[in-house]
């Protein structure tokens, strides 16, 4: 579904991604881990099309289409969803109105008629229950005055509503207490299906106890330096990243 080949990108003239290669297939759950500043969030920003990142080399194919050629909104309409690490607040715009606009933009792109209010509300209720999102927050202004945890849960609710092919969760676990973490993880698990793929970016193994990945990749210094299964995450938890860094430096010096 998503093929990343030799992806290089820079921001403010500084090289951040230095040759990422990654293949993601339908139904898969990938976790990306790595120390601070390794390029995890940059990777998600580049994939989503954030303006201040410049791709200097490489390509990304999304279901055969050149992702990097697309505007951010078209990437979203094609089915790429980013759950933000820091969701923004938009005062005065109700959560539901925003979601209805988003959903209908995506539907229009696929030549589908806009959803009637009744159908939309039905869908809303269904998804809200599925991911256990507080109904009171749906009519509030988008993320305005939400707690950190509520914002993250709203990202998962939006994910459920927009039903993308590929969802990237950028440190969705940061700032969550253990109960909220469980609810978020259970929401994500309910959304897993054979035709969808997930990329979970996280610092901690903790989240992966609840969302079990098929693959774990370690990003270091702009490259994927190791790929394994969930055991790799446990190993990292135990030993930290230093042994991996050393491995990389040894390889480089050979």
């Amino acid at each position: 579904m998503l093929t990343i080949k030799n992806l290089h990108a820079e921001v403010d003239g500084k090289q951040i991604l230095k040759g990422i290669n990654l293949e993601i297939k339908r139904g898969e759950m990938h976790a990306i881990m790595g120390p601070n500043g390794s390029g995890k969030s940059s990777l998600s920003s580049v994939l989503a099309g954030r303006e201040n990142y410049t791709v200097t080399q490489g390509e990304v194919l999304f279901d055969g289409k050149d992702l990097l050629e697309m505007s951010p909104e078209d990437r979203a309409r094609e089915g790429l969803f980013l759950a933000f690490q820091y969701p923004v607040e938009i005062p005065g715009v109700s959560n539901l109105h925003f979601l209805k606009t988003a959903l209908n933009e995506i539907r229009t792109y696929h030549n589908l008629p806009a959803l009637e209010s009744k159908e939309f509300l039905k869908l809303t209720k269904e998804k809200q229950q599925l991911v256990d999102f507080n109904a009171n927050l749906m009519n509030r202004s988008l993320n305005e005055g939400f707690s950190g945890g509520e914002k993250k849960r709203n990202e998962v609710f939006q994910l459920a509503m927009l039903d993308p092919k590929l969802a990237i969760l950028d440190e969705t676990d940061s700032g969550l207490d253990i109960d909220a973490l469980r609810i978020v993880a259970s929401g994500v698990n309910k959304l897993r299906s054979a035709d969808k793929a997930f990329v979970v970016i996280t610092h901690y193994q903790r989240l992966l106890e609840y969302i079990v990945p098929d693959f774990v990749h370690v990003l270091y210094n702009g490259q994927i330096v190791k790929t394994g299964t969930k055991e790799l995450a446990l190993e990292l938890e135990e030993k930290g990243y230093d042994w991996l860094k050393e491995e990389v430096h040894q390889k480089e010096s050979v």
């Binding site: 951010p72 909104e73 979203a76 923004v88 938009i90 005065g92 933009e105 939006q158 927009l162």
Partner: protein, 481 residues
């Protein structure tokens, strides 16, 4: 990806939707401003002598006055001698019913989305339609009459209800109030007159729609609204004009009188032609609007959505004379290209326990300049007066300006006056977030702006809130990259 300047240029080149002209035979006054002009207008309107005398008093005052210099923009050169002060569609005979209105006029208003045909109007809205200098139609008059409500053109009120007009005309905005009000007093053409009798709650929205059509004219309408004891009315005005290279002057006066326990809500959706992207053409919207809460516990509320005009210069005000009276001002002013807005309100707290609330939202894009100017004055008798003011500015792009000039004068130590102000820019983060959910940039901006103006839009009657939202979205389409 397109940069912001390209997109701003796109929007600048967008056509003004209501810029067409109507080909209709028009009767005009000779160009120029003098006593003859005033006598001509008065005679055309078959006015009584007292009305002519009042106009002449206005003209005397006008001649002694100068254009103000305190505004935050360069005053354009206005040659008032080059304008024609009266333009009216030619009518073969007196109209007895709406069916007799010139089909060309009906078509014009259909095109503007203002059907004059009663069957087609929005349920629950009565409309008075003013085309250039005259009122061409007023709907639902009979139905309103049953309740004792008078809703008619100003000209008709002068002839039919002279006592009421004489009692209140100029009591809120005197003929010598300011140079534009004095000019209006001298040459005002038409407008709406509303009287709600004691204890009557007007069952429908009353609305006036102003259209400037003729070339080289000014529009000087005058509106007078009186809500008697315990009466209530909600009133809305809308306006558009054709696209022309010359600037046109619109100097209207609105007076509102609220007696004991009466309430008047006055809403404006202003969409006069704003000029082109280089600032050529457009309406000078220099308007005096003022209401007086004469009675105890009365209330006047202004809501304005200002998106049009080359220059918008007005301060809808409230004099809180009665005890426990309440005044409100809600405003959204949008400027783009080279538009200028210098707008706000004045609230005079005279009575005891009077309250006021001011919510102003300025939105500037392009090379425009948007100024909030507001006065809150508390008199010595106004014990426990309270005011809350919030004025926010939103900037789109980096070539526009936002300014705030609040004036607060309190002469009573028990008064509470609060002022809050913020300035913000639409954040790239906000736009990217919405992009990432499949919403393109133009729609994202519209969504953010509508959210920003929400508190004010909520004050509009429902049908018009929908219109205003659309107008805001269209006006700002493409203002951000």
């Amino acid at each position: 990806m397109r940069n912001s300047n390209e997109i701003i240029d796109d929007i600048a080149n967008r056509e003004y939707e209501f810029g067409f002209t109507t080909n209709i035979e028009t009767e005009m006054a000779p160009v120029g401003l003098n006593e003859e002009t005033i006598r001509f207008i008065s005679a055309k309107k078959e006015e009584p002598e007292w009305m002519l005398q009042w106009r002449l008093k206005g003209f005397q005052a006008f001649k002694k006055m100068q254009f103000p210099k305190w505004q935050h923009f360069e005053m354009p050169e206005l040659d008032l001698q080059k304008l024609s002060y009266y333009a009216a569609p030619k009518q073969k005979k007196k109209l007895n019913s709406l069916d007799e209105v010139d089909p060309e006029l009906l078509a014009t208003f259909e095109k503007l989305g203002i059907p004059i045909n009663e069957q087609k109007t929005l349920a629950g809205v009565a409309v008075d339609v003013v085309f250039d200098s005259v009122s061409v139609a007023t709907t639902y008059r009979e139905k309103l009459k049953e309740l004792g409500i008078i809703f008619c053109s100003f000209g008709e009120a002068v002839r039919t209800y002279p006592e009421l007009v004489q009692k209140y005309l100029g009591t809120v905005v005197p003929h010598s109030d300011n140079i534009f009000a004095a000019l209006n007093a001298a040459v005002f053409s038409d407008g709406s007159f509303v009287y709600i009798p004691k204890g009557v709650r007007c069952p429908m929205e009353l609305s006036t729609y102003f259209r400037i059509n003729a070339e080289n004219t000014g529009q000087f309408e005058r509106t007078l609204i009186i809500a008697d004891d315990n009466a209530y009315v909600s009133y809305l005005e809308g306006c558009t004009a054709p696209m022309r290279d010359e600037n046109q002057l619109h100097a209207a006066v609105v007076e509102i009188v609220a007696l004991d326990h009466a309430e008047v809500k006055y809403s404006t959706v202003q969409n006069w032609y704003p000029g082109d992207k280089d600032g050529k053409g457009g309406i000078y919207n220099f308007v005096t609007k003022r209401g007086i809460c004469k009675g105890n516990s009365s209330k006047i509320s202004w809501t304005q959505v200002e998106t049009g005009s080359a220059i918008t210069w007005k301060y809808p005000s409230v004099i809180l004379q009665g005890d426990d009276a309440e005044g409100e001002f809600y405003s959204v002013a949008v400027t783009r290209n080279k538009q200028i807005a210098d707008t706000g309100t004045k609230i005079y707290h005279l009575g005891r326990n009077t309250r006021s609330r001011i919510i102003s939202k300025g939105i500037s894009a392009g090379h425009s300049d948007n100024t909030y100017r507001g006065l809150v004055q508390v008199g010595p008798r106004a014990a426990n007066a309270r005011n809350f003011t919030q004025c926010d500015s939103l900037l789109i792009g980096d070539r526009c300006g936002a300014h705030t000039f609040p004036y607060i004068e309190s002469r009573n130590s028990t008064a509470t006056v609060e002022h809050e102000a913020t300035t913000s820019k639409i954040g790239e983060d906000q736009i990217f977030y919405l992009n990432q959910r499949g919403i393109e940039t133009e729609k994202a901006v519209a969504l953010i702006v509508n959210g920003y103006a929400q508190e004010v839009l909520n004050q509009l009657p429902m049908e018009f809130a929908v219109e205003a939202r659309k107008l805001l979205s269209i006006t700002l389409e493409g203002s951000v990259g």
